[in-house]
């Protein structure tokens, strides 16, 4: 009984061991590695360009924001009310401190 099972196992292993892999497997491996490298090289400039564009936009925005920071708020217009029906207040006009 044991002999039979042992023979069965040995035959199975012998059959599986006789299976050969593709002799050009090494070329497939090297091609996959080269492809991975090429992908990495291709990706790099895209990232670099994107980073350059983002930093350019950020610096323009920072410039505009900094410029706006120094803009003073518009001054309120002062309207002098003049009533022509009454003589002018010479005392007020002559007062140098009001000029």
């Amino acid at each position: 009984m044991n002999e039979n099972t042992d023979i069965l196992i040995e035959e199975f292993i012998k059959k599986e061991k006789s299976t050969r892999c593709n002799p050009f497997l090494h070329t497939r491996v090297m091609a996959a590695i080269e492809k991975n490298k090429a992908d990495v090289i291709l990706v790099k400039p895209v990232w670099r360009n994107a980073l350059a564009v983002i930093s350019l936009i950020a610096s323009i925005w920072a410039g505009i924001a900094a410029g706006e920071f120094y803009n003073l708020p518009p001054e309120k217009e002062e309207i002098v009310f003049i009533n022509d029906r009454y003589p002018e207040h010479f005392d007020f006009i002559n007062d140098e401190s009001n000029n």
Partner: protein, 182 residues
Amino acid sequence: MTDSELAYDIVNGDNHGFETLVKQFQEKIFRTVMGFVHNKEDAEELTQDIFIKAYYALNSFKGKSTLSTWLYRIAVNTSISFLRKKKRKEFWGRFPIPFNTASNDKNAADQLAEDEEIKVVRKAIEKLPLKQSMAFVLSKYEDLPQKKVAEIMQVTEGAVEQLLIRARLNLRKWLEKNHLNP
């Protein structure tokens, strides 16, 4: 040139050195993977993955073991993780997926064509506990000495011997129960 020197050269761009390494080990790694997956297409795919993994992991190779031991370790681990994923897939595959019957039909056809004896022995090997299966494949498919198997599995030689005895007993038991005594 030592293994560490070869690894250093490959890490520093010696692709020709790596190609030579692949050529030297592709059959051995393929046979080991076959012992786990029992399917040529899967074994070839996994062998390719193993070498790609090794290429990118070579900078972590410290030369504490030989390059062949290191490669066998990657091969065993990759095969085991493939089998785990496959088992998970098979588990979910039990539930019917609407409008997807093609793959099931193909499996059924393949299974019918397969020799009954081969199927039973394959099943018996697949049923082995993980460590027994590792020792069995490395020893029987690769004809590696127990010392080398112990190095790859990072256990003692005595442990490997015990694992092989238990594997053999389990295979006999399973085959007698399921095949020779129907």
